[in-house]
């Protein structure tokens, strides 16, 4: 049979973002593939060269809308490294808690997105129902549902209230009970398991060579987590461990993300216990010194990195973003080639697409 190229995108229910996966099919089998990106490119790195340092925080929020908090966090970390600021201890704990809340919200969005892909609308409804609880927590913390603008260079905008901490503990208790429902619905569903197990093997060597990070890498059995290997904020004081699965298939990537949600709950509980009292913000200088600053952290999608060059003015000279999904997407041909067309949505959904950070 003659081979032919198919465009899956830019408007396709599989994409979960705005991109185009071109696949060459021989009958039902994918023989070649090529991701086409750039539909959301807005020149982010060039634009921020014309903004002052505090003005970039809301821009960083809009870099990846699935996990906007972590991106403003990594930006503030990089600028603090440039300005050599020491952040108060309480602010570090609040940042870690917000980070993990954002990780849960982002993973819930991923779970909601793969549900309809694999033919299960109920999991979409369940996951979005619990995501609203975390949106409520963020809303009472900083006033916004999605783009928070909460971190500041040298701390966070405002302190938490005792009521917020009470609500947080209640939400986590409630969420842990609801996690069992998801697992009942997915892990014990034979159809789901058949569509995920043994699909799209990505060996540890391939994953490392392609630069894959985050849950996709840990799903290949590599114990790498920036929170553990290059700890930032207060992660080394907290009681946690990275979630690793050795199976290298789609189901392992799914399991890693589900375990990470549980682990985030554990981290937040531990951080709430150890959180000291004190100020949450120091005043940063208006003008950054000449030099460079770098920060990396564990985004819900992998390792995110920002590298900022200051030239003594109130605006950065250059701001480089290392986006985790941009690199992970290069592994898409390796995973997709050789599988059936019907498996493409479950493979691509399972690496958690976010195009805002990829195209920048």
């Amino acid at each position: 049979m003659a081979k032919m190229w198919i465009n899956m995108g830019p408007q396709h229910p599989m994409t979960h973002g705005l991109w185009n996966l071109r696949i060459e099919v021989d009958g039902e089998t994918v023989t070649n593939s090529e991701p086409v990106i750039g539909y959301l490119h807005r020149g982010w790195e060039k634009m921020v060269e014309d903004r002052t340092y505090p003005q970039i925080i809301p821009m960083a929020d809009r870099l990846c809308y699935g996990s906007s908090y972590t991106w403003s966090h990594v930006y503030c970390l990089a600028v603090e490294d440039l300005m050599e600021l020491e952040v108060p201890e309480r602010a570090k704990y609040i940042r870690v808690i917000a980070d993990e809340l954002q990780r849960i919200a982002s993973h819930l969005m991923w779970l909601a997105a793969i549900g309809p892909d694999l033919g299960n609308l109920t999991i979409f409804l369940y996951a979005m129902r619990e995501r609203e609880l975390f949106m409520d927590l963020f809303q009472s913390l900083c006033g916004a549902r999605m783009t928070y603008n909460y971190t500041r260079i040298g701390g966070v905008r405002n302190d938490t209230t005792p009521e917020w901490e009470r609500d947080l503990v209640r939400t986590l208790d409630f969420f842990e009970k609801r996690m069992v429902e998801y697992e009942d619905l997915v892990d014990r569903n034979v159809v789901f398991r058949m569509r995920m197990e043994g699909l799209a093997p990505l060996s540890a060597a391939d994953a490392i060579n392609l630069g894959v990070t985050g849950p996709s890498l840990r799903g290949s059995g590599v114990d790498f987590d920036v929170r553990q290997d290059d700890p930032y904020e207060v992660y080394e004081n907290l009681d946690w461990h990275p979630c690793v699965q050795p199976d290298c298939d789609v189901y392992a990537r799914y399991r890693v993300r589900m375990d990470e949600m549980r682990m985030s709950v554990q981290i937040i509980r531990d951080a709430l216990k150890k959180m000291p009292k004190g100020p949450v913000r120091v005043k940063p200088p208006r003008y950054a010194p000449e030099g460079t600053g770098m920060a990396r952290m564990e985004d819900p999608r992998g390792e995110s990195l920002m590298y900022v060059i200051g030239d003594g003015t109130e605006k950065p000279f250059r701001l480089k973003v290392r986006s985790p999904f941009f690199v992970t997407l290069s592994a898409a041909p390796v995973m997709v080639n050789g599988c059936k067309v019907a498996d493409v949505p479950s493979i691509m959904g399972m690496i958690d697409v976010c195009m805002g950070e990829t195209d920048r």
Binding site: L18, H41, R42, G43, M47, G66, R129, T147
Partner: protein
């Protein structure tokens, strides 16, 4: 209507005859008032059906797409006002633009708009789709979706909350109710 062609009708090609006969029927309906009568009688039924089953295109662009998903989730439940997402443009009647439109996306979006059958409406959701928003000085972002397709409803916010989106669709329902398009949609 060019009635002077009437004696020559038999000598026309088939395409010419089709166009000409369509025009004759249309003109007869218009001049005799039948068309207006039918429109007036059917418009409330059509507008009731159109405004209560708005099917937007399932096309997530950027941040507002997550709020679009949240609006169809259990807490906000946009389905109760008839908003159901369809993945094929042939099955939809609303183009919901929820994000910035770049130069690479613009031809694809224009084509999606053309693929939606009439009657169709366009909703611009969020600051980026309305006017470029935070990317006002970007070299690659089209400053507002209304520069190349006609927009009916603007929903402000960055990103718009799900309540705002549902409110925008209620406004669109009011607009459809006022427009009162009848069976003959062309006038």
């Amino acid at each position: 209507m060019d009635l002077s062609l009437f004696p020559n009708a038999i000598a026309m090609t088939i395409d010419e005859f089709k166009a000409w006969s369509h025009e004759v029927v249309d003109e007869l309906g218009r001049s005799s008032g039948i068309k207006r009568l039918v429109d007036k009688a059917t418009a409330p039924i059509w507008s009731w059906a159109q405004r209560n089953s708005l099917h937007p295109l399932h096309f997530g662009i950027a941040c507002c797409a997550l709020e679009m998903a949240a609006a169809s989730a259990p807490r906000f439940d946009a389905e109760r006002v008839g908003v159901v997402y369809r993945s094929s443009p042939r099955q939809t009647d609303v183009l919901l633009v929820n994000g910035w439109v770049t130069k690479k996306l613009r031809p694809a979006l224009r084509r999606l708009y053309e693929e939606i059958p009439d009657p169709k409406w366009v909703v611009a959701m969020g600051e980026c789709a309305i006017s470029g928003g935070p990317w006002y000085d970007s070299y690659n972002v089209v400053q507002g979706v209304d520069t190349f397709i006609p927009v009916d409803i603007y929903i402000p916010g960055c990103p718009s909350r799900p309540e705002a989106m549902i409110d925008g669709f209620l406004k669109l329902q009011e607009k459809i109710k006022v427009e009162q398009q009848g069976t003959f949609l062309d006038d």
